[in-house]
């Protein structure tokens, strides 16, 4: 008889997994995620935010499973999937297992300090750098291949390959069976974002990312796209649940302004980039092909490097002694270009030879995407964007806030210079 295990989780209560998944979780490559903080140095601002990619990954597996079950256990949704896509495999356990594994491993390639570490990844071609997804692919196909493919539960039931997982995570497939559930892992309503809003709120000790997860699961549905004259399927929220969709949009916005774009948190992301460059040979992480060398890097190792270099690198010193870059100029969260002299301030600092860093909310490279619409299935079985229901969603713009930071020792000088 198959044995199940449970882990206590502060967001969902218990997360359950079987012997096969347990072996993957126990693999040293997965255990490394315990040593990679979810939000880098956010604990410099919110001391409770010390959670890691480990518990987030378990949470995404749990939530993606619940989302899948919520959709496939609804007869109306099943009818649509089977009727339109001829999707015979719908509802079978193999897809469920494949989604669980892809969700569990979706962040396996993260660099130390999560997204902050991405800034020091080597160049792939031209100006394009590797992303953590490139490392995820290499790690799953090489380091985790055996533990995924050779377990008896898999061999006798599902025959899921490491490649199947990579395909679902990357969306590079020509087979509907492989990509249909991709939106559960990457979309405006995916398990990744849905988990990190709740989890980051919990650990940071804020309430901004909290929404009614049970209502979300109860109203997840399948709808047809209007632009393609109902030829294509979307994962949507039933009209009765549009308020939960609205609360997710508000949660994303609030978490962005209060946590992810917090001035000190962002200062430390920039400091991390410089400090890591100071500590690394060639000022960059190893390429994905050097998997073992890459996997040796985690937050613990980097912290030791910062401590070792503290007297040689001011960036390492800023981290070890919590001495962030200081904001000397900033705009409001929403401002009109014509009403500010922000660029002039930057020019003044440049002319005075003072080191500065310009940060902006609208920089466009961020992992916390605020922009994609959530779709609602109305009573006539048509899909409409949430902004057709919610005045808040319709009018909630994207912050274009900008900030100028200087080194701590230059703060006074810079402030005086910018007074006139």
């Amino acid at each position: 008889m198959e044995e199940f295990y449970k882990i206590r989780d502060p967001i969902y209560g218990f997360i359950t997994f079987d012997e096969w998944e347990r072996e993957i979780i126990n693999h040293p490559v997965f255990q490394r995620l315990r040593r990679i903080r979810q939000l880098a140095l956010t604990d410099m601002v919110y001391p409770g935010a010390t959670h890691t990619r480990f518990e987030h990954s378990l949470g995404v597996m749990h939530l993606a499973t619940n989302m899948y079950d919520a959709i496939t256990k609804n007869d109306k949704n099943l009818g649509k999937l089977e009727g339109i896509l001829n999707y015979k495999e719908i509802g079978i356990e193999r897809n469920r297992r494949l989604i669980r594994l892809a969700a569990l491993l979706h962040d396996i390639g993260h660099a130390p300090f999560s997204h902050a570490g991405e800034e020091i990844m080597p160049k792939k071609e031209g100006d394009v750098s590797y992303k953590h997804e490139d490392y995820t692919t290499h790690i799953i196909l090489n380091e985790l291949k055996d533990v995924i493919e050779d377990h008896n539960i898999n061999k006798s039931n599902y025959k899921i390959t490491a490649k199947d997982i990579v395909i679902l995570l990357s969306g590079k497939s020509d087979d509907i069976n492989n990509v249909f559930w991709f939106p559960l892992l990457s979309s405006q309503l995916d398990a990744d974002r849905s988990d990190y809003l709740l989890r980051d709120s919990y650990y940071a000790g804020v309430k901004y990312g909290i929404y009614d997860i049970q209502r979300l699961l109860a109203t997840l549905s399948i709808g047809m796209d209007a632009e393609t004259k109902e030829n294509e399927i979307l994962i949507v929220i039933d009209e009765s649940g549009w308020h939960v969709a609205e609360s997710i949009v508000i949660a994303r916005y609030q978490m962005f302004s209060q946590v992810y774009f917090h001035k000190t948190r962002n200062a430390f992301d920039k400091i991390l980039e410089f400090a890591l460059k100071d500590c690394l040979e060639n000022r960059t992480l190893p390429e994905p092909e050097n998997t073992q060398e890459y996997l040796d890097f985690d937050d613990f190792k980097c912290w030791q490097m910062f401590k070792d270099k503290v007297s040689q690198s001011e960036w390492c010193e800023f981290i070890v002694n919590r001495n962030p870059l200081r904001v000397v100029a900033e705009t409001k969260e929403f401002y009109g270009e014509q009403n500010n002299n922000f660029e002039e301030k930057a020019r003044k600092l440049e002319n005075a030879g003072i080191f500065f860093w310009k940060d902006e909310a609208n920089r466009g490279k961020d992992w916390y995407k605020l922009d994609e619409e959530i779709f609602i299935l109305n009573k006539n079985d048509k899909t409409e964007p949430l902004s057709e229901y919610s005045v808040i969603a319709k009018n909630l713009g994207k912050s274009n806030q900008k900030r100028i930071y200087v080194k701590p020792e230059d703060k006074e000088k810079a402030e005086k210079l910018l007074l006139y």
Binding site: I84, L85, N86, V128, S170, G171, K172, S173, D174, D175, I176, V179, F180, F182, P183, S186, D225, A226, E227, T228, K229, E230, N231, E232, I233, L234, E360, N362, R363, G364, K365, K369, D371, E372, K382, E384, P385, S387, E388, G397, K398, N400
Partner: protein, 172 residues
């Protein structure tokens, strides 16, 4: 804003502007822009990372930039019931303000000329066909038809085959 991102947003603006000039009755929705840009990327005129969703190739970065263009009031994005998004230009930007490279303009013009008046579902089928052809080189023409059909079953196999032939995705 990062110069490269602004340049990509200007590329989106340019494509919306040129389609509305060339095909005034065309509904410029998000699907149309996503799939046209996939074809421009295939031509080497732009660099957006596309993944394959069940509704065809899609770039979340391009999706974000469309919203940026809306926030910057370069584009106006409206929803029309039962029809979907209608995207139009809002500000008038001159060619020199856009600062677009010749390679992009040539690719975009060719794609707009060949595909700019297609319906969203047709473009979705064409872009999906090209995605399969590019990423799965071992696939023959029949495999491509079957793969696209598995993703767009409602459109019908024969119509898919005809469209893929007409647009040069597979040989006629």
């Amino acid at each position: 804003m990062d110069k490269e991102i602004l340049n990509d947003i200007h590329k989106i603006y340019y494509v919306v502007k040129r389609i509305s000039e060339k095909y005034p009755n065309q509904q410029i929705g998000k699907t149309l822009i996503q799939k046209l840009f996939y074809l421009i990327v295939e031509k080497g005129g732009a660099k957006f990372d596309y993944s394959m969703y069940h509704y065809g190739p899609y770039s979340s970065t391009l999706g974000s930039y469309l919203s940026f263009a809306d926030n910057m009031e370069l584009l106006d994005i409206k929803w029309v019931e039962d029809k979907g998004y209608h995207i139009s230009t809002k500000k008038e930007l001159k060619q020199e303000e856009l600062a677009l490279d010749e390679n992009f303009i040539n690719s975009a013009e060719e794609i707009i000329r060949n595909y700019g008046n297609k319906k969203a579902i047709e473009l979705s089928i064409i872009a999906t066909g090209f995605f399969i052809k590019t990423h799965f080189k071992s696939k023959n023409d029949n495999d491509i038809i079957e793969s696209v059909f598995s993703l767009k079953r409602k459109y019908g196999r024969d119509k898919i085959e005809k469209l893929l032939k007409e647009t040069g995705v597979i040989q006629s």
